[in-house]
Amino acid sequence: MSDASITDIAQAEQGTSLWHDAWLRLRRNRLALFGLGILVLFITIALLTPWIAPYGYAEQNLDLGASGPSAAHWLGTDIFGRDLLTQIMYGGRISLAVGFIATAVALLIGVTWGAVAGYVGGRVDAVMMRLVDILYALPFMIFIVLLMVVFGRNLLLLFLAIGAVEWLTMARIMRSQVQTLRQQEFVEAAVSLGLSPSTIIRRHVIPNALGPIIVYTTLTIPSVMLLEAFLSFLGLGIQPPQTSWGLLISYGAETMEEYPWLLLFPGLALTLTLFSLNFLGDGLRDALDVRGSRD
């Protein structure tokens, strides 16, 4: 074998997967990079919070009470005189974890469920989607209260409960995507190669349906963060003095006139996350759409 063909083989074997290529393309998208940067920053802060937070998260100063931004408390304090910056940092730990993990759970279930239903079709599809319909219609609150009573309160359950709700829409989107993809000739080609349905779904269908799923995912994460606050009110979520952005925002909303900073800064944190996610999501969608990079 000639030298040339050896380098060819080496080149062929060098792992440049779809994701690697997507990353290369993503690196050229400044907005997406900005989003990614912010997210990485937030996650890093969240991870380091116990060491870098200016105050203890339960540390109160009742006599100080709610005070606006100052040199001692950059973002002000809440009614207990707790440092808001510290609260937001600790809240971010919970919110980001809930946002990402619960969405990942929803993604896993929803994408699998929708892909199978859409690909297999027929009766299986009908039964699977009717199940989704039923779950859609159940009174969510009762369901949550029951979950809590049966399994007790823990964070894992919170993730599952949220995931259990959010996957439904995910499954629907996935299914409709798959239904159109199923007709495509490259799927037919895969069938004629003798690939098993599960391999076809995994290798040929899902990667091509990712675009809308990614966009929906980036919208899901912030709404999951807010949902967490609601569940906390039902008693399923986290307990004081632990906090989350969703809770901080809903507390802040109560006193938006008296202590506007209590709403403004947590709201800013969530909004920034949402925008970053969105830029990243759109960027990722474009990056994964290998055809788009032609123009």
């Binding site: 859609y136 159940l138 009174p139 919208l219 949402l274």
Partner: protein, 310 residues
């Protein structure tokens, strides 16, 4: 067409039946009963109350009796509001919530549609980013935040609009509709932008341009219809969502709608009310999904003729 509708409705029956069954037993196992209150209830009184509501009978008997009533369209008496039937309560709340939902949907479509279309005409420019960013804020702005904010600004500081009520003071429907619609506006903006972007690359748009039509006519006459089909398909689920999700807005604005009943029923463990609203809403969801499918099909002539031929 009719066959299709009949088929879909037929399919809905087992779904709704399953929803009823699961809900029925779900609420019974949930902790706390309808008669629990902070001051302990004398056991004899509690027994008397339970007897009045058939709660002393075996669960399966109650279930069968409930289904029997349901078949006759009876949703039973409310636990929380003695002297009122669930039918009556739903009948009182539905028109209000439906009206609110409709306005909200209109707001969502106007704001979202316009934002999405404007954004799609010049993708990846300021004309795209600005309306889409505004739409995104709508998504992360929950109604418990947006509602009071709007009230403070327009109701109190500017004193332009009433802070609450429904049909009592002129203009009191505007803020609730905007609050409820904004979240959906954001989704519609994204959908219509994506839809329009897709359509604007179609060959028939080039045909329209080749005819010499000015750009705005190309957009309104040729692109809009195809571009908005995904939006129309979204309207059904959205309206169903508006109906069941209007609780927060109804509470903030003191609106006598169904959303409050739906959520409070769960808080009160008002068994018949939970079941009644759930059955009712799940039926509505099915109907509206069907309706928007039909509408989307009707907007697409290819599907329309398929329907009418069948």
């Amino acid at each position: 067409m009719w066959r299709f509708i009949a088929y879909r409705l037929l399919q809905a029956i087992p779904v709704i039946l399953a929803v009823i069954t699961v809900t029925f037993f779900l609420v019974r196992v949930a902790p706390g009963g309808p008669f629990d209150s902070e001051k302990a209830v004398v056991p004899e009184v509690k027994a008397a109350l339970e007897a009045q509501y058939r709660l002393d009978q075996p669960l399966l008997t109650q279930y069968a009796a409930y289904l029997g009533d349901l078949a006759q369209g009876e949703l039973g008496p409310s636990f929380k509001y003695p002297g009122r039937s669930v039918n009556e309560l739903i009948a009182a709340g539905l028109p209000v919530t439906a009206e609110l939902g409709l306005y909200a949907l209109l707001v969502a479509m106007i704001i979202g549609g316009v934002a999405g279309i404007i954004a799609s005409l010049k993708p990846n420019t300021a004309q795209d980013y600005l309306p889409m960013s505004a739409a995104m804020i709508g998504i992360c702005m929950p109604s418990f935040l947006l509602g009071p904010l709007l009230v403070l600004v327009f109701g109190i500081y500017l004193d332009w609009l009433p802070v609450s009520g429904w049909g009592d003071i002129p203009g009191d429907k505007i803020l609730p509709a905007i609050t409820l619609g904004s979240t959906y506006a954001a989704y519609i903006a994204r959908l219509s932008r994506a839809g329009m972007l897709e359509v604007m690359t179609q060959d028939y748009i080039r045909t329209a341009r080749a005819k010499g039509l000015p750009e705005w006519q190309v957009v309104t006459r040729h692109a809009l219809r195809g571009g908005l089909i995904p939006v129309v398909a979204f309207l059904g689920p959205a309206f169903a969502g508006l109906l069941s999700g209007s609780f927060v807005v109804e509470t903030i604005f003191q609106i006598p709608g169904l959303g409050r009943f739906y959520v409070q029923a769960a808080f009160n463990r008002d068994y018949t009310m939970i079941l009644g609203t759930t059955v009712f809403l799940s039926t509505l969801i099915v109907l509206f999904n069907l309706l928007s499918d039909i509408l989307a099909a009707w907007m697409n002539p290819r599907l329309r003729t398929q329907f009418s031929e069948h």
